[in-house]
């Protein structure tokens, strides 16, 4: 379907337009949608749209999840209440809202909606324009990085808030992931609020959490100049999205092709350094780290090998002609091609 775009357009440009729109929505969207929680798009978005940003148009599912682990499930376990509507239903509603969004758009929330993902991508573009040497994570090293997102999800989003609700952990650890999330700092700074950038000094624990958050924020801002999507690789939302990715209508599909073995351009194009997109096909090619940015589809030089599908329909699939046009402006690894200036006389001679 997307091949029918005008010739000056490509998937990357379309994604940039969508990112601009969703970035405005997730950081300043309340100016249009309304200020109150009831006005927002959702309070269970599968993207790091931070609730601490009072001007956002919808916020992330991780904050209500932590809250429910802490205040509903944790407390209920301590009080030995029967599992009832008051305990399970709010959690199910949050998860259900998240699942509904995710069922339709799937992992596209990462590459098309998440404001932190967008900021990292734009910083990386800046780094490339500044001719900074780009880093990539080698296939063997990815095995050490990937487990971190699961660890963060299980511990900071689920286990620690649950423990806080049960009284095993300090109450101030009620939403520990939010306390260290760089999106909280980034989006609140963008909306003109410095409160979340300041570190809480009221206790050693809060100070330590704030120190981690700001250190992570500073690291991500600089690292993004020379490494694509540094925080996304350990993001717990990526892990949550990964759990349901095969259930979503929107997904990545790669069919087996003999030409893949000696190619590997898709791996170079992938901002998450997913080598499986090159070496695997079928379900294994749609990896847990995939953010559905579509770059592998754009840079696959063969027709129909990789595609993004919505249900049974191929929304966008690889094409040799598209690839030829795409590489004129940007290399698979993201480096912009220099703009060529050609004199009219030379153009006429070429013709």
């Amino acid at each position: 379907m997307l091949e029918r775009l005008p010739s000056s357009w490509n998937l990357a440009r379309l994604r940039l337009v969508v990112q601009l729109f969703t970035f405005f929505l997730t950081v300043w969207g309340s100016t249009v949608l309304g200020y109150y929680a009831a006005d927002k798009i959702s309070t269970a978005l599968p993207a790091l749209s931070c609730a601490y940003d009072q001007q956002n148009g919808g916020y992330c599912v991780l904050i209500p999840l932590q809250h429910q682990m802490h205040h509903r499930i944790g407390e209920a376990l301590v009080k030995a209440q029967q599992i009832s509507q008051q305990v399970l239903l709010p959690t199910l509603i949050s998860l259900g809202s998240f699942a509904l969004f995710f069922f339709v758009l799937g992992k596209a929330f990462c590459a098309w909606v998440c404001p932190l993902g967008t900021v990292q991508e734009w910083l990386n573009r800046l780094g490339r324009r500044l001719s900074l040497q780009q880093n990539a994570i080698a296939p063997r090293a990815t095995a050490r990085v990937r487990p971190w997102k699961w660890l963060i999800l299980l511990s900071l989003v689920f286990a620690v808030p649950l423990a806080a609700g049960m009284g095993v952990a300090p109450h101030s650890l009620g939403n520990p992931y939010c306390d260290v999330c760089p999106s909280r700092v980034v989006t609140t700074l963008l909306s003109g609020n410095v409160d979340e950038f300041a570190v809480n000094e009221s206790s050693w624990l809060k100070f330590a959490l704030g120190a981690v958050a700001n250190t992570l924020f500073g690291f991500v801002v600089i690292a993004a100049l020379a490494l694509r999507q540094p925080f996304c690789r350990i993001c717990p939302m990526l892990a949550m999205n990964a759990m349901l990715r095969h259930a979503s209508l929107t997904r990545l599909v790669k069919r087996q092709s003999d030409k893949c073995e000696k190619c590997g351009i898709c791996h170079k194009a992938c901002p998450m350094d997913i080598h499986e997109i090159h070496t695997e096909h079928g379900r294994k090619a749609f990896h847990e780290d995939c953010t559905l940015c579509g770059r592998c589809v754009e840079y696959c030089p063969d027709d129909g090998v990789i595609s993004i599908r919505f249900g049974p329909w191929a929304v966008f699939q690889s094409s040799r002609n598209y690839y030829k046009q795409r590489v004129k402006n940007e290399s698979p690894n993201g480096d912009p091609k220099p703009i060529r200036f050609v004199r009219k006389k030379d153009v006429a001679d070429l013709a």
Binding site: L132, G165, G167, L173, D195, A198, E201, S202, L205, A208
Partner: protein, 283 residues
């Protein structure tokens, strides 16, 4: 020192901080418990306030001071023009979200009519539940003298050093040039005047002393009451309307921008080894 060592040290430090805190099972009933904000003595004007804490489940107690034998009406966000008369129990009321409402902000109005006087004390309270937007409630002034905020904090609080706008209306129309008095439980008194559109911009004073901040609650949840009042005479009848709510200390009272910048700088420095200029290829 390798990056992995730094990360390990950071997590170890975090672990020490966690266990140096009180790890014993905390009385969860302390969460959000407000210190005394009972409607007594700090203002001579009618004051309607809750004795509950934000997010409290079940019925919440409300009392009004300075206005004996008042009636209390409750307005839900789903039906801002329709009210329900609350049943008084003892010297106050026990209230929950109105039936059919999904919770959220409700407008509460205590009223007493005497000969030559109409007294009103209002507040806004968020009951548990997402609820509908309070926009309708805040944009639907009642007949008579009405004072209500243009906007209320969503998942936040009124805070010192922050500006919030309130609208004064008479019979549903803006009342310009009206003096609005602000009193706070911390002892501040300020005067404001409504503009041509009846709107008054109130800058909450930075009047929290260090002692006033509850160490258990911190700046996030410590709260004291404030009262806005406006008076108007019409055909020999004195109308007095008040609005009371809570305001909290500025978050920056217990936060440090300097440390925020220091740790952001540390993070940036840790990433510097990743930054290298691309080597130019020579012909």
């Amino acid at each position: 020192m390798r990056l992995s060592h730094c990360v390990t040290a950071l997590f170890l430090g975090l672990g020490v901080a966690v266990f140096s805190d009180t790890v014993q099972a905390q009385e969860h009933a302390e969460h959000g418990r407000a210190r005394s904000s009972l409607p007594v003595q700090w203002s001579a004007l009618p004051l309607l306030q809750s004795q509950g804490r934000p997010g409290e489940r079940g019925a919440v107690a409300f009392r009004v001071a300075g206005m004996p034998e008042a009636e209390l009406r409750v307005f839900a966000p789903e039906s801002p023009g329709h009210s329900v008369l609350a049943d008084k129990q003892g010297d106050g009321w026990q209230l929950a979200a109105l039936p059919g409402s999904q919770g959220g902000y409700h407008w509460l109005l205590a009223e007493r009519v005497e000969s030559g006087k109409v007294l009103r004390a209002a507040t806004i309270w968020s009951f548990p539940g997402k609820g509908s937007s309070p926009q309708g409630l805040l944009q639907t002034p009642l007949a008579g003298l009405d004072l209500r905020p243009v906007r209320v904090p969503d998942k936040g609080a009124f805070r010192e050093n922050s500006s919030w706008t309130f609208r004064v209306t008479w019979e549903g129309l803006p009342l310009p040039g009206q003096e609005v008095l602000l009193e706070t439980e911390n002892g501040s008194h300020q005067r404001f005047v409504s503009g041509s559109d009846g709107v008054v911009k109130v800058l909450f004073p930075a009047d929290y002393s260090a002692d006033a901040i509850d160490p258990a609650l911190g700046a996030v949840r410590t709260r004291k009451a404030y009262l806005l009042s406006v008076a108007h005479e019409h055909e020999g009848v004195q109308h007095l309307s008040t609005f009371s709510q809570f305001y909290s200390p500025a978050l920056l009272r217990e936060r440090s921008l300097m440390w925020g910048a220091v740790f952001a700088g540390v993070g940036m420095l840790l990433a510097v080894p990743l930054i290298r200029r691309r080597e130019k290829k020579h012909a």
